[in-house]
Amino acid sequence: MVSVEFEQVNKQYEDGFQAVQNLTLDIKDKEFLVLLGPSGCGKSTTLRMLAGLEDVTGGNIRIDGMKVNHLPAGARGLGMVFQSYALYPHMSIHDNLSFGLRMMKGTDKLDGNEISKRVKEIAQLLELDDHLDKKPKELSGGQRQRVALGRALVRRPKVLLMDEPLSNLDAELRHQMRNEIRRLHDELGTTTIYVTHDQIEAMTLADRIAILDKGELQQHCAPMEAYHNPANDFVRSFLCKHIDDLVDTANALFKKPEEVNE
């Protein structure tokens, strides 16, 4: 059982900018939660506070009921996929994948056989078997993306964090990887928090979405519920109107030939 709770969490940067305000949020076991909002809304900061990359100014973050505010990033048992992938350029794909396993401490420490077994497993899952000896720069964008995903998953994280993982890919690959990410989640059941500004990505991936604006939580519910019952004007314009516009554009595009025929 994994659960994550944000309890009245605040984040204020040194220059006084209030990135996150009184955020209270819970993520259930095996849930796929998407943090959605325009840029600067605090969604990435929220994720980075959970990951341990940013200090928490106020409130508590709990993983499985344990307060992790001051736990070092590596000790929280999370895996993270960065927007730029952040693969280690000087290591082969195999070493990139096994690095986190080799760094495990104490009772989690793994022996060599176990490490190579796990790396093989994850490489197979993500179809990276043929590329294990290559360096990151020899791979295509989609392959790099999969390595980044593999590096996060290979440690069997309690929670998988993804920070706009698809925004560096072209449209077709993005679509493909989106399905892949959802498939992996259904297969592995890892609790996942996914940050994006793309409404369609959020609607298609999420079990529940949390919509943020100016550091404040606007609505937290299943995606279709947010669409049908927007909590306020912001959700209405950011989510509902955007999707309706997309639908209208698509409809107009496909209607045209019929109108010409009439």
């Binding site: 990033a73 999370l78 960065f82 927007q83 000087h90 690095f99 760094m103 590096r151 996060a152 440690r155």
Partner: protein, 415 residues
């Protein structure tokens, strides 16, 4: 306007295009070369040189346009006159390589102009209305020839740079392998290895070499030991006095070295570090550090923070992030920095001369200079020794070449 009228304005034979550029270069070179005639105090040759320069300017101005036979004829006359003057000047001076090179700068451009302007493409272009197919052919010919002409002019330019680099080297190699200890004489007129055997068999050279090696490697290592953490801290952490201390690093660089010389000497004397390797290493480190720190900071700035965050999530502590991710990625920059401080120490003269009073403690530059002053200007020995001194440096560069390019471009362009 018909189609061909349009095209006529766009078609200029490549010869003319090239001459428009090359004659400017020839003019500038000839003006610069006037200095040689002036220094030789040969007034009639200087006068001819000035006339050539003026003629080059006139020739550049009179280059023909389309359907302009008059200007073409004027250009032909001018280039013929230039060629004549150039040949006369060539015959008047001694046929040394240097003189021939000087006169090539007026011979070749004027000859080429004469040849090209009298050639068929320019003649046709200036004298009659070209047909469409002739213009098409001319444009194609331009495209094909331009590669050759551009390559030629690039290589001529590059040859000059090569000459600037290589000729001093040839001189010093010649002096090192020539008999006697005097300067001058023809290149390659005698051959001996006596200077090398004298230097290599003498004790002094090896003592100096050892001193230089200890001091330079010591400087490089101590410099890196301080500069790597300092550069990383400056790049990644915000702390009180960060900007001030980085600026103060630059401030130290603004003093001419000679101002700090006497204070240095007094400090070293008080510490008892005169005539010691450690004293020199410390002094060189102080001089080399600011640049090393700035270079490394620039490089660390280019390493994405996300990489370090990924490592932190993979379970590294701060020190492991640094040793397992940042350091391996920085090898090019570290190599360049090490090379830089090594070279600074290897070449330094003034401090080494001031701090060290005994022959046993001389470094190579000081030792070499002593060859000239004390033993009656032994140029041959000096040349041989200086070749031997530069050998390790050349080898280092050869070895670090790849790193050097990576390190300088990565740190410099993006940082």
């Amino acid at each position: 306007m018909t189609n061909s009228d349009d095209m006529r304005w766009w078609y200029v034979p490549l010869e003319i295009v090239m001459l428009r550029r090359w004659l400017v270069a020839a003019f500038i070179m000839n003006v610069l070369l006037l200095a040689v005639d002036y220094l030789r105090a040969e007034s009639d040759l200087l006068l001819l040189g000035i006339i050539s320069c003026l003629l080059f300017a006139a020739l550049r101005a009179s280059l023909p346009n389309v359907n302009d036979t008059l200007r073409r004829d004027i250009s032909l006359v001018l280039s013929a006159a230039l060629l004549g003057i150039a040949v006369y000047r060539l015959l008047r001076t001694d046929p040394t390589i240097f003189n021939i090179w000087i006169h090539c700068w007026s011979l070749l451009p004027s000859g080429l102009t004469l040849f090209w302007l009298s050639g068929r493409p320019v003649t046709v272009w200036t004298s009659r209305k070209l047909s469409d197919s002739a213009i098409e052919y001319g444009l194609m010919r331009n495209a094909n020839l331009s590669k050759i002409y551009h390559a030629t002019s690039t290589h001529i330019t590059l040859l000059h740079f090569v000459a600037i680099t290589v000729i001093p080297l040839i001189w010093i190699i010649d002096i090192a392998f020539s008999e006697g200890n005097a300067l001058g004489g023809q290149i390659g007129d005698s051959f001996t290895t006596e200077h090398f055997s004298k230097i290599l068999n003498g004790d002094s050279f090896w003592t100096w070499f050892r001193n230089s090696l200890i001091v330079s490697i010591g400087t490089a290592l101590l410099g890196l030991f301080i500069a790597i953490p300092a550069g990383y801290a400056f790049s990644r952490y915000k702390f009180t006095g960060r900007d001030a201390s980085m600026f103060s690093f630059l401030l130290v660089q603004m003093f001419p070295g000679i101002i700090i010389l006497v204070p240095y000497f007094m400090v070293m004397k008080t510490l008892g570090l005169l005539n010691s390797h450690l004293g020199l290493i410390l002094a060189y480190c102080v001089t080399a550090l600011p640049l090393c720190v700035w270079m490394l900071k620039g490089f660390f700035d280019t390493i994405p923070r996300e990489l370090e965050e990924a490592a932190a999530l993979d379970g590294c502590n701060q020190f492991q992030v640094f040793t397992k991710v940042v350091l391996p990625l920085s090898t090019p920059a570290i190599a360049v920095t090490a090379l830089f401080s090594f070279l600074a120490a290897w070449n330094e003269y003034l401090l080494a001369l001031t701090f060290n009073t005994s022959n046993d403690m001389y470094t190579l530059p000081v030792g070499l200079a002593s060859l000239i002053s004390s033993t009656g200007q032994a140029w041959g020995d000096f040349a041989a020794a200086s070749l031997l001194v530069s050998l390790p440096v050349a080898l280092l560069f050869l070895f670090f070449q790849k790193f050097l390019i990576d390190g300088l471009s990565a740190g410099g362009v993006k940082g």
